[in-house]
Symmetry: C4
Subunit: 203 residues, 4 copies
């Protein structure tokens, strides 16, 4: 029974792992040996912030994906296509991360932040669509599915898009405030308390 | 019995996952802070189109590969070599994608499009060769193979090369028409109706 | 029981494999056909040293991770977050490696070496935190855990951060001495004798 | 029993898959829209030759690795270290490939070719060392190992280094002759006849 989703998980793990590791290519190695290295490294702080944010968000998304597929045990064409759409969002993140990092402090910061947070809004919505599709009427869940866990995931995932929408909207008014909100969101997800609100414990 | 093809699938999953994720490196981050970011982003629309097309096609190819190997259960040297040829085609896609994206609107567009669609023609033919090799006389299929499913795959896969050949030929006359056809093909593959014609449901 | 950590291991394997393979991108292909190739290749010896060091250290870290998860059999949110922090350290290595390679022989060498060794100090500490969390009170170990092995790992891992701290401190006084120490450390880890002190044999 | 080598295989598959896919990054997308695209594409034929050669050799190495680990069932620290040395060779290939491609037709061609073929000599030797270590006295093989197969692998693998040494030596006299030999070697490995001489059929 497990084998039906095994390769979906393996392929998805691969895409998540590559996307999260490619993020580092966005941080440039200072190339001017004549200038003070410390100054050059400090100046590109937006790259570090963007890297850490995206690493956290992709990490959280992988954990969420992992949790969903402890419940989803059957596969069909629609699930494969929905999962590919989700992975499309994930593969875009290294680009939006580099876009954000290179525009903080410049005129394009608002637009770059909107693209950045907009991508996460889209991914969070796709997570909900995939889960609703798989769980509605117990369509693709395992036989021994736990109704309580399924309901809790459905409730918790509904907040995901909302959180990123807040970051998205705030970003139009203040880039700094939105970045602080994004950092807070990443920390919130990592804390045990936040985890309870954004994911379900392993069965 | 499964373990004979397990590592082929794992290695192939890796190559598919990396190729589909490397596509994003083709989209350049606008680097001129003095110019309007929106204008710079909009100007590189061919990169987005090429990225989305290639993501869709590699995604569909992965789904097809996945389906084939739910039927193929045995392995031999010829299968390994045919599978490597197939993966050779897949690893070339990030290059042909970048080639297409950087030539739309320039004199080289016809040639770039021919290389782009030609690669997919070759991959689609290789899919047929691999499948015919594995399925003829039930050579490498599982014991409980479903003759009906096998015949359906053989019939459906025969259309794949034809579809890309049409895009290839149209591209010599009109780059725009071929791109529209390519987009239509990607959407067709993703729809449940198109899926029926290009793949077989999981057993 | 195994399946609880299977995807953590698969995802971690992916990140380790990608990070170790991306290291090669740091070594530049000499691009001046007019100059003697041998001279150009020899001149970038710091790139080879940095590549070999980081390959060894990531390789050792993968072996350690592999060994830990022969004992850890259960998972929870804290383990997932701790493992992500560990992988964050791993994905940073291609950057710190390129930073080191491009600064040896320049004014920034001390700082680059501090960042390089500092990252490994952090990773080594995270290995201890993850292992203590999983093993304390047999929290996430398998039922048939071997108390002797667990204690030995705990003792051996405690030396890891110390070794990198020594490299870190020596680097502030002498870049050359620290690089020699780093090379010695990599060889020590690879030898059977060093292995006994840094890892535990497979059960 | 299998699980002892499962993660070694998964990690190795990852490194092989990434190295083989990164090869494509070596082929540059022509960036001069003013010049004829066909002429620009044709001019970089050494990149295509180097790409196809390295894809073939890494593919063959993966097949060989796959075959070895159908026999190797136990693991220890020495095997892990030997396997890492083998993977070190594999990760270097994208660099040596780009080095070869950019130097064919220039003064550095002989040296680039020596580095290129020298890397494969080293990898082929490491394959022999790993296999001898694992198979001598049936040290790490499965219980039901087939003495005939083991002996055949040992005999066949001994030729691998020799073949690359011939390419290496010929390269010092004639770059063209060595490239033709390399291409012949890649085709030989792919043919069923060559396969018999370089690998053993799956058990």
């Amino acid at each position: 029974m497990d084998s039906e989703t095994a390769r979906i998980e393996a392929f998805s793990d691969g895409v998540f792992a590559i996307a999260i590791t490619l993020l580092i290519l966005e941080i440039r190695v200072p190339s001017n040996p004549a200038e003070d290295l410390r100054a050059q490294l400090l100046r590109q702080w937006p790259s570090y912030v963007a890297f850490l944010l995206s690493f956290s968000f992709i990490g959280i998304m992988w954990i969420n994906h992992h949790q969903l597929f402890t419940h989803i045990r059957h596969s069909n064409n629609n699930l494969l296509v929905l999962n590919l759409l989700l992975l499309l969002g994930v593969t875009v993140v290294p680009f939006t991360t580099a876009l954000l990092a290179s525009n903080v402090g410049h005129a394009g910061a608002h637009l770059a932040l909107a693209v950045y947070n907009g991508t996460f809004v889209a991914i969070a919505i796709l997570f909900n669509v995939l889960w609703r599709y798989a769980s509605t009427g117990n369509r693709l869940l395992g036989k021994k599915f736990d109704e309580h866990s399924v309901d809790r995931i459905s409730r918790q995932y509904a907040y995901g898009p909302l959180m990123y929408v807040v970051c998205f909207v705030v970003g139009w008014f203040s880039v700094g405030a939105s970045l602080v909100l994004n950092i807070g969101l990443a920390i919130f997800f990592a804390l045990p308390f936040g985890a309870k609100h954004s994911r379900t414990p392993a069965p």
